[in-house]
């Protein structure tokens, strides 16, 4: 399933939730929507699901030779941000009901139920009422509900919320399995470490706007256009020495034996080292690779500064 979103906008009363956002999702990939609360992620998801329509711009969903303005229900698996199931019914009854609604036969339902309950280690709890399960286990049942019919596209709004680190890891494996099975996955999340492991493409949003988009490498190069290198020396050095040795470079002496240099491009590293080596012995050299969490924070800070400047 391929999704092309072009310049969509959405207003709610006095709030402009989404402002001219565009992106594309390729078949079989995991696409992550990132951003703080109120960034517009859930609004985009609700438009993709067809619950609301864009006020401007358009959504094009292409699958099986058909074109649609939102994801048709028959291809969709959905874990909403605002979620819940029938708490006074058993795990099995809840999932059977949803499977029946999706049109699964009794045999197919049983097969999927057995498989997914096993994956999430809930087999021996299938007869228990949902309200008897922990929040984490209820979340797992919700995830099963989203995929029990093996949809072409799964949209998961905050799939990691309410889960402990072990179960978060389980969900990462679950999502990787969905991708391996050929499903396209859209997820919104705050857990950057998880998203970094999973997402093929991502879109960082703030106040309804796209801030950064692309693969992790592309985002890294957008968020941090100048690569940084950390150099550790054998002997202590001073700022005065560095003024002479590294003329023309932007640097920061973090400790007397630890120096951070900002390069215009990675290829500049060898010239920089050649300039430094005649004066001091080097102990360690490492390129700075900020994780997604840091990139996200940088991007959000930059966005806020730009907004304030405007």
């Amino acid at each position: 399933m391929q999704i092309t979103v072009t310049q969509i906008e959405k207003h709610y009363a006095t709030v402009q939730a989404v402002r001219g956002v565009s992106f594309q999702i390729q078949p079989g990939e995991i696409f992550a929507l990132l951003g703080p609360n109120g960034a517009g992620k859930s609004s985009i998801i609700r438009m993709l699901v067809g619950m609301t329509r864009p006020d401007a711009g358009h959504i094009l969903v292409q699958h099986d030779g058909g074109e649609f303005d939102h994801v048709p229900r028959r291809y969709l698996g959905y874990l909403p941000e605002d979620r819940g199931l029938y708490a006074d019914k058993s795990v099995e009854k809840n999932l059977r009901f949803l499977a029946q609604l999706h049109g699964l036969s009794a045999a197919e339902t049983e097969q999927q139920l057995t498989h997914w309950l096993n994956v999430f280690e809930l087999t021996d709890r299938r007869k228990e009422d949902l309200k008897q399960l922990s929040k984490g286990n209820q979340q797992k049942v919700q995830l099963i509900a989203a995929v029990i019919h093996r949809p072409a596209l799964v949209i998961l709004d905050e799939p990691f919320s309410g889960l402990d680190p072990l179960n978060q890891e389980k969900v990462v494996q679950f999502l990787q399995q969905l991708r391996a099975d050929g499903m396209t996955v859209i997820l919104s999340a705050h857990q950057m470490a998880m998203v970094e492991k999973l997402a093929d493409h991502m879109l960082l949003m703030a106040k309804g706007q796209a801030v950064l988009a692309g693969t992790l490498a592309q985002i890294r190069s957008q968020a941090q256009p100048q690569p940084e290198v950390v150099i550790e020396t054998e002997q202590p050095i001073s700022s005065e020495q560095l003024d002479r040795w590294l003329a023309g470079y932007s640097w920061l002496l973090q400790t007397p034996q630890r120096l951070l240099v900002r390069l215009n491009e990675t290829q500049q590293l060898s010239a920089c080292l050649q300039q430094l080596l005649p004066y001091c012995a080097l102990k360690n050299i490492s390129m700075q690779n900020p994780d997604l969490h840091q990139l996200y924070l940088n991007a959000m800070t930059q966005h806020q500064q730009q907004e304030q400047a405007v």
Binding site: Y12, V49, M51, T52, R73, L76, G77, Y78, L79, P80, D82, R83, G84, L85, Y86, A87, K89, F97, L98, Q100, L101, H102, G103, Q142, A145
Partner: protein, 393 residues
């Protein structure tokens, strides 16, 4: 047409509230309560006891199973002392010139029956004293027979068995609507509060969802009506065959009227359930919303019809039987009491069906739009606008 998904929702909703064990227990409890009431009334029935009444010499009324009239040889003062101190007498009669005094310890229900018996006895004595025959006395007691004769051939009459059926149908509808009211309010607002709604939206359309809800809860209402009817019929059979020891006669049952009652009752329940679903779909939080009470509007047709049940040919009943929102209650009652041409109930039924179709579309729109407002409850203005809008969803 009802989709497959709507049927799945309907089955789920019906079974969600159908707890057969609890239902059986409640029926057994009901039977137990009825049995206790019967046993209590049997044991406290004063009519089954025999009462000893002291009467003056010359009193000619013969004793019955309930009253034993005895003429004591002791004085009136002694009789009154006995009445006061022991159980010799239950009452002592003291005849005077113009009146008869009945002395007794305290007021009891059987004394009313004693008064009736004595009144009849003294009336006959008075007639005998006047030289009247028994026939003359009977004629005096009921001088003329009054009978109503109606010139309108279509009017079947006031107190016909069909009226009983019509009243029973109104009662059953009330039972059904009460069931649907509670369940629909709990089911729809509960789903919103448990946040199931958005998940379901990704699987079924708002129209399929609302159709399923209405169908499921209409079935629950019909089940409640059916089981109550069954219980009442059982009670009737037990009363006739066991207690009254009479043969069962059902020739008063008008099957033609019954055949019309069923589609009206069925569509009426579905119409009211759809209205209730539409209102419930607009409620965000039942604890703070005042809209829940509006769902009780569906009881008004029953009340309006009941108020004019004794004037089935009047303009009010005619109007109610044609208005699609009230016809489900009024037309069956009117049909039971007035002979109508076949096309009238048929046309009324068609109007009801068309209104039902329109209302289910409105309910679907309200559900969708209400959900899109995310936690904000729509105003009555919003609801009216959605109801009158023809926009496809």
């Amino acid at each position: 047409m009802i989709s497959r998904q709507s049927l799945v929702v309907a089955k789920w909703e019906f079974l969600r509230f159908f707890k057969w064990k609890q239902q059986l227990i409640s029926y057994l409890l009901m039977l137990g309560v009825m049995g206790a009431i019967f046993a209590w009334s049997y044991f406290v029935d004063e009519g089954r006891q025999q009462y000893r009444i002291a009467v003056p010499a010359g009193f000619s009324l013969e004793s019955s199973a309930q009253f034993q009239f005895q003429q004591p040889t002791v004085s009136l003062e002694e009789q009154l002392r006995q009445l006061q101190q022991d159980e010799t007498w239950h009452a002592v009669l003291e005849p005077g010139d113009e009146q008869v005094l009945i002395h007794t310890k305290a007021g009891k229900k059987w004394q009313q029956q004693l008064q009736s018996v004595l009144l009849e006895h003294y009336r006959q004595q008075y007639a005998a004293a006047q030289g009247w025959s028994a026939e003359q006395l009977a004629a005096l007691q009921q001088p003329v027979s009054l009978e109503m004769r109606y010139l309108d051939d279509n009017y079947k009459g006031k107190d016909r068995p069909e009226k009983l059926i019509a009243l029973a149908v109104l009662f059953m509808l009330l039972m059904g609507l009460t069931t649907a009211f509670g369940q629909l309010l709990m089911s729809i607002t509960g789903e919103k509060q448990h946040r199931v709604t958005e998940q379901l939206f990704a699987i079924v359309t708002p129209q399929q969802w609302i159709d399923g809800k209405v169908l499921g809860h209409s079935l629950s209402a019909l089940k409640a009506m059916f089981t109550t009817t069954l219980m009442m019929l059982l009670g009737f059979l037990v009363a006739v065959l066991v207690f009254a020891n009479k043969p069962l006669q059902l020739d008063w049952l008008n099957l033609g009227v019954l055949a019309w009652l069923l589609p009206f009752a069925l569509l009426g329940v579905v119409l009211c359930a759809t209205f209730m679903a539409a209102i419930a779909a607009s409620i965000d939080d039942p604890n703070t919303s005042g809209k829940g009470a509006v769902m009780m509007i569906t009881w008004l047709p029953l009340l309006f019809t009941y108020l004019v049940i004794d004037s089935p040919t009047g303009w009010a009943m005619t109007l109610l039987s044609w208005l699609p929102l009230t016809s489900f209650a009024a037309m069956p009652v009117r049909m039971a009491l007035v002979e109508l041409p076949w096309w009238q109930p048929l046309l009324s039924l068609m109007l009801l069906l068309a209104t039902l179709y329109w209302l289910r579309r409105v309910a679907g729109r309200i559900f969708l739009r209400g959900m899109q407002m995310y936690g904000k409850e729509p105003s009555w203005g919003d609801i009216m606008r959605w109801a009158l809008s023809n926009k496809a969803d």
